[in-house]
Symmetry: C2
Subunit: 155 residues, 2 copies
DNA sequence: GGATAACCGACTAATCGAGTAGGATTTAGG
DNA sequence: CCTAAATCCTACTCGATTAGTCGGTTATCC
């Protein structure tokens, strides 16, 4: 598996927030029930999303969570990275702030790391998929609440 | 991390086999030494590659391993899948023999799984990167033995 | 003040990754 | 035939991570 249920649950949580029409916060317990996910586990995940600045919270009665930004300004690479940590195909892969890629094997001496080409391509593919998909895309795909719409194979 | 060191080590092992010029088998201990990897761990990995029909072995003294096919006929999706198992972004993702994708949440009743769109795109990106890269590409990228050639940033 | 809900940290069970260890089997060469 | 070199195979360990649970604290609305 490329990703764990943290990404899965967390994305579903975000979609659930994104499909809420109003501007009132929605309680985590409501999300947990709607998605049939354990509330106490969601608490951990939503904390990560909050620390990443993707959701805001209001405490106390009638409190809950909201998206920090409109859904079409949230890309899924932010979401998945907040939940799973740095997205790199391999342990030795350290993207620098300037966008370059360092491979810790590079200092091996006699040659460039043979696998670098492959992992670079894989990371490119994943990154493109994640950053090219917004939360709004998923909300639209999921359709309005309670109405199961037929979903074509166009992806 | 998307992949573990199983993929990393296994790919490096394959590259090492691919850069051997002759048709004689190379001993795993030679690969282990060249790549500075633990021999006993490589044994596990090469077993997976053998079961997948990617390498052949000859036992006994002067035995070792060889590629089962020319390097340009081996694509990296085969290699990585042999080492890591089915490449799916998420637990719930089950590709059918016909190439379609099933999501176990699909039976949730009230709607299609909201995350399906995202994981489908991610899988597409990874698959394209892996199946679009052959072992020969990596062998060429790594360059000939013992001569570190300058590697451009073109990827 | 009580109910509601976010927040926080500690704990747990199961699984997986990354090896190690030890042996059994096969084969080339002397 | 004997031995060294190799593949092959099973079992084991140790640590990290996943997927949670649990109990308690704080903040807020009514």
């Amino acid at each position: 598996m490329l990703f764990s249920t943290k990404a899965e649950y967390g994305v579903r949580l975000m979609v659930e927030l994104g499909r809420q029409p109003g501007s009132e916060p929605v309680a985590l317990s409501a999300v947990a029930e709607a998605e049939r996910l354990p509330l106490s586990y969601l608490e951990h995940l939503v904390a990560k999303l909050r620390h990443a600045g993707l959701v805001t919270s209001t405490r106390g009665a009638h409190g809950g969570y909201q998206l920090a930004r409109p859904a079409d300004e949230i890309t899924m690479d932010e979401v998945v990275e907040a939940l799973e940590g740095q997205i790199a195909p391999m342990e030795c892969f350290h993207p620098t702030p300037e966008g370059k890629v360092l491979c810790s094997h590079e200092s091996d001496g006699d040659r460039a790391c043979a696998t670098k080409l492959l992992w670079t391509r894989v990371q490119g593919g994943v990154n493109k998929a994640l950053s090219g998909t917004s939360l709004a895309d998923l909300v639209e795909f999921a359709g309005p609440r309670e109405s199961k719409q037929s979903v074509g194979s166009a992806v």
